[in-house]
């Protein structure tokens, strides 16, 4: 991998990890469409991915630094007391409940699923499926808005009628967390399925995105930190990779800021249509060997 390719991949990973468009799908499809010779499933690619993920997780930690301090404090307080008394304590326990299924499925299934589906055609197919999923989530949300007689109200009013992340049930948190495992399939977006799950659980769009980003942080960080020793294997161009990770962190920071603003009144539809279009175009280009 050349320096330019590494920097491009860093930028791509950071930008697409938090948008509901599947970073893994893009990371499989784009190098393939550009006829780059490296593959995501290659074991030598792991240290590179580790640093990119650490970059993304650092950006999320920075954005929610104050919230994470309250969450960690709340976690220990509630764990020792054996009772939840404050919203940060509840959020801490919700995140724990949501992270456990993702961690179990991640440890046992991630590498198997990734290697099974690491083909650009499969990624393009699942990207289309991901788009349809996003559009489906929004259809269900619109139905819920109609049921609550909110369909004629302005978007900010509609959004205010839904709940904050702390109000999600523990069962829903576990389900949303388990949905993260779907993102091991290239083309399915982790943030997409968790934001969609949050919407189904009755959260506002912005709160569903916030819950999704908070839920992603320990998973991305944990997966990255565990693989850190791989960085010290011989022949790893650490300097090059750190540059890419910094770009990834910058792109993830900008994406998260944009998305949190966008989801004040925006919906998943544009990302759904983008995924369908990108998947179809990729299929076409791959089939024509362009």
């Amino acid at each position: 991998m050349t320096l330019l390719q590494a920097l491009f991949m860093g930028l791509l990973q950071g930008a697409t990890e938090l948008f509901p468009v599947s970073s893994l799908g893009h990371a499989v499809l784009i190098p393939s469409l550009l006829h780059w010779s490296f593959r995501q499933s290659d074991p030598s690619f792991v240290p590179f991915l580790v640093l990119l993920h650490l970059g993304t997780a650092s950006a999320l930690l920075f954005i929610y630094r104050n919230e994470w301090v309250a969450i960690i404090k709340g976690f220990f307080t509630a764990a020792v007391r054996g009772r939840i008394e404050t919203p940060p304590e509840r959020l801490a326990m919700l995140l724990m409940v949501g992270t456990i299924p993702a961690a179990i499925l991640g440890v046992y299934l991630e590498s198997r699923i990734k290697s099974l589906f690491a083909s650009p055609y499969v990624a393009a197919g699942f990207l289309i499926f991901n788009g349809l999923l996003m559009l489906g989530f929004e259809q269900l949300r619109r139905r819920a808005e109609r049921r609550a007689a909110l369909d004629s109200k302005p978007r900010p009013v509609q959004e205010e009628s839904f709940a904050e992340a702390e109000r999600i049930s523990f069962r829903a948190a576990a389900l949303v967390g388990a949905c993260q495992a779907l993102a091991f399939v290239p083309g399915i977006s982790r943030s997409g399925v968790t934001i969609g799950g949050g919407l189904l659980a009755g959260l506002r769009h912005q709160e569903a995105a916030r819950f999704s980003f908070l839920l992603a942080t320990p998973v991305i960080l944990g997966a990255g930190v565990i693989e850190v020793p791989q960085l010290f294997s011989s022949g790893v161009p650490v300097g090059e990779y750190i540059g890419a990770a910094l770009l990834s962190a910058g792109a993830a920071y900008a994406s998260a800021r944009f998305l949190l603003r966008y989801f004040r009144s925006g919906r998943l539809d544009p990302y759904g249509w983008y995924c369908v279009a990108a998947g179809l175009v990729s299929f076409g280009l791959l089939a024509l060997h362009l």
Binding site: V80, G82, M96, V107, Y108, I226
Partner: protein
């Protein structure tokens, strides 16, 4: 749901998780892992599950007022 029996169940689950974590850490247990040897990732997972079980036990036990 508060129940001391449920709390004891969670403590037993925690002990079981610690044992499984230790077996993965020393490389005796190979269940659903790639290749042979030590499986730190699996060991950490079961360590975390043990902590979560103990927290669940603390939440479910009946507390003296």
């Amino acid at each position: 749901m508060k129940s001391n029996q449920l709390a004891i169940g969670f403590v037993i689950l925690a002990v079981l998780c610690i044992v499984i974590a230790a077996l993965y850490a020393v490389g005796i247990l190979q269940f659903l892992s790639s290749g042979s040897g030590v499986h730190i990732k699996h060991a950490i997972l079961f360590g975390v599950l043990a902590v979560a079980s103990l927290i669940a036990a603390n939440f479910t036990r009946v507390k003296a007022v």
